[in-house]
């Protein structure tokens, strides 16, 4: 399978990391068959996660971030979903061509998932003890009593009080936040190398959100586990991630360390997203709509909503990943950052939401962090 792609060749950028990445996604595509044309949910995404590192994928709903995260262990419904192209390596092993049986060992073993909605994510007719034990026994040859002990340990680690007395409780006896803790315990049961957390706090109360984020960060540190964190919330990214990838319409628009991306947001889409954060002036989001995922227009996918769009944006493919400033890993997919062009047209522009005239009373204009 091809591992190179002219639009997303981030590996051109030299890195200081010489150890093997835990997760290496190269030029991943994930399409869904429909009666007419395929829906291109993920359309050439490349990304790495190192051991012990947290990488966030951020984007609006419909950007393909969830599909990208589920494509790693092929969790999406298939058919209609399929991976026409791309490579996914875990600890150096290619997993896109694994059989179902082999993939089952990866799921819950090397790679675990935590999903958005804890309410429905536990089977209502089994005790939580049963559900943790199931995860344990699928990947290790443990006796029932050993598994029970281990389950108590896990529940204690994720902050469930009096864990041993709660093993025989059913999911409906837990609150949403507690359910998410149980699900995290299940995900961690077999000591995964990589935890994929897809909006794990979105469905929870604000106070609980902070607790769960803290718990995840803590557990990750203890276990030196890699984490891929999917979110639409840049505020959460700033809190938890080391690196961030901004996704739009199936493609990555910008990626880099969290400091770099928040200090010097390069891609017009990232900049618009940042402007939408509370306290940044802009309200209501970015005007315009995502392009049709069945037949995306040529050129930059963001062109219709971009106020910096020029003719070059509407031809050819999505622009390649170009370096932003001197930061080693900070790249963006925008023509203005092509060598020879003046990136300051974007970087020095005001921060009013793309495409809309700025209201005169917008006091926060131009304010970058």
């Amino acid at each position: 399978m091809s591992t190179r792609d002219d639009t997303t060749d981030v590996r051109d950028v030299p890195t200081e990391r010489d150890d093997q990445p835990l997760l290496k996604i190269s030029n991943l595509h994930t399409y869904f068959r429909t009666d007419s044309e395929d829906v291109r949910a993920v359309d050439g995404v490349s990304l790495t996660v190192d051991p012990g590192e947290t990488v966030a994928i951020v984007g609006e709903s419909g950007s393909g971030k969830t599909v990208a995260s589920e494509a790693i262990t092929r969790l999406f419904k298939s058919p209609p979903g399929y991976i026409p192209e791309g490579s996914i390596e875990i600890n150096g092993r290619e997993i896109t061509d694994l059989s179902d049986e082999e993939l089952r060992r990866v799921r819950g073993g090397e790679v675990s998932h935590v999903f958005q909605n804890p309410q429905g994510a536990l089977n209502p007719v089994y005790t939580i003890g049963w559900q943790i034990r199931e995860a344990l026994q699928l990947h290790a040859d443990v006796s029932k009593s050993e598994a029970r002990e281990r389950a108590v340990e896990l529940l204690t680690q994720v902050g469930i009080p009096e864990a041993s007395s709660r093993l025989d409780d059913y999911p409906h006896e837990f609150s949403g936040g507690m359910k998410q803790r149980v699900l995290i315990a299940i995900a961690l049961a077999c000591e995964p190398d990589l935890l994929i957390a897809d909006e794990p706090t979105t469905a929870l109360d604000v106070t609980i959100q902070a607790q769960i984020l803290e718990l995840l960060a803590e557990l990750q540190e203890q276990r030196d586990m890699g984490m891929l964190f999917i979110t639409h919330d840049l505020g959460v990214v700033a809190e938890i991630a080391d690196r961030v990838a901004v996704m739009y319409a199936g493609k990555i628009m910008e990626k880099g360390s969290v400091e770099d991306v928040f200090e010097t947001p390069a891609h017009p889409y990232t900049r618009a997203l940042l402007d939408c954060l509370p306290g940044r002036g802009g309200i209501g989001g970015i005007p315009g709509e995502l392009p049709d995922p069945r037949s995306p227009p040529p050129g930059c996918r963001f062109a219709d909503r971009c106020r910096h769009a020029i003719d070059a944006c509407r031809t050819g493919d999505q622009p390649g990943m170009h370096r932003v400033g001197d930061a080693p890993d900070h790249t963006t997919s925008c023509v203005h950052f092509e060598p020879g062009r003046d990136s300051s047209t974007v970087l020095d522009a005001g921060s009013e939401p793309a495409g809309s005239p700025s209201p005169p009373d917008d006091l926060e204009r131009g304010g970058r962090r």
């Binding site: 262990t73 969790l75 419904k77 058919p79 179902d100 089952r104 060992r105 990866v106 799921r107 819950g108 073993g109 675990s112 998932h113 999903f115 909605n117 309410q119 429905g120 994510a121 536990l122 089977n123 209502p124 007719v125 089994y126 005790t127 199931e134 995860a135 699928l138 990947h139 059913y170 409906h172 699900l183 299940i186 995900a187 049961a189």
Partner: protein
Amino acid sequence: MKWYVIRRVLWAAFASFIILTITFVLMDQVPNQQLMQAEFQAAVNDVDVETAVQAEKERLGLDRPFHERYLDFMTNVFQGDWGWSYEYDQPVVDVVRETVPYSLLYGVPAIVLSTVIGTAIGLYSAVNQYTKKDYAATFAAFFGISIPNFWFGIVLLVVFGSWLGWVPIGWNADIPLAADGSWTLLETAGSDHPAFFRQDFEGERYVGILSPANLKQLILPTFVLMTGAIASVMRYARAEALEYVDADFVKTAKSKGVSNRAIVTKHIFRPASIPLMTILVGRILGLVLFGSYLIEVVFGIPGIGLASFQAIIRQDTDLVAITILLPTFVAIVGNLIEDIMYAVLDPRIDYGDR
């Protein structure tokens, strides 16, 4: 839990009571056969009709006030005295006792098989939703539901009985019985056994419920009853399972590394089985009882369905009442079992104890 069960039992008792009361009132309105007979006799014998009817009324206790008769009726029902069948010329209880086993003979295998097969097809169909396999199963189910039982029975009888001669056309009610007329599983009998009436052969042949001859004559009725039942079960099972195929907890299970088979059997079937239980016990029982009417008429099986059918045609009032009451009580008891099973199986049910 205990209180929940007690409450449910009380409800079932109350429902039975209401139904019995309604039955009594209705039967009170129907012209009484014995009175009509007395009237007829009086006319034939040329005695005073009025006096004869009055005498008969007194003999039967029909002249007593409504509430006394009502009390009598209720006591009788609970003591198992369900009236007299004029057609069979024996107590209704005995008619029921003699005919029900024949209905169970093909009804029980039909219920068990259709539940197992229907559920399996339904699950399979749901897991493969919108694939060709699913369409094929759904189409077959649609077909099974649309075919009228009695018509299908006749067609099969013509094809396999008359044309191919694989199964007997007439139903032999003596085959599952021993020579003395009692039920037997399997034994041998000579040509003097009533089943072999007017047949001459040397040695012995098998008789009894499990005898080849009996199984052979059960195949078609069982099959006909099953087709409709399988289709209904399949549709319910598919709809139930579909609710869970895309459930978040199924995704969780998948992400844990659970195999596809275990996902279907443990994570989808188990939660789906709870509502299915409700549907199956109630509906399938009803379907089978209802379906048995015409099946027994078509195949000539002397079961409760045929008895009821003839009772209606010949206005054998007591027998009609009981053959209609019986399924009702089966349904009430079925519902009760269902609810209790539901409570045991589904941890989410709040029993409202204390």
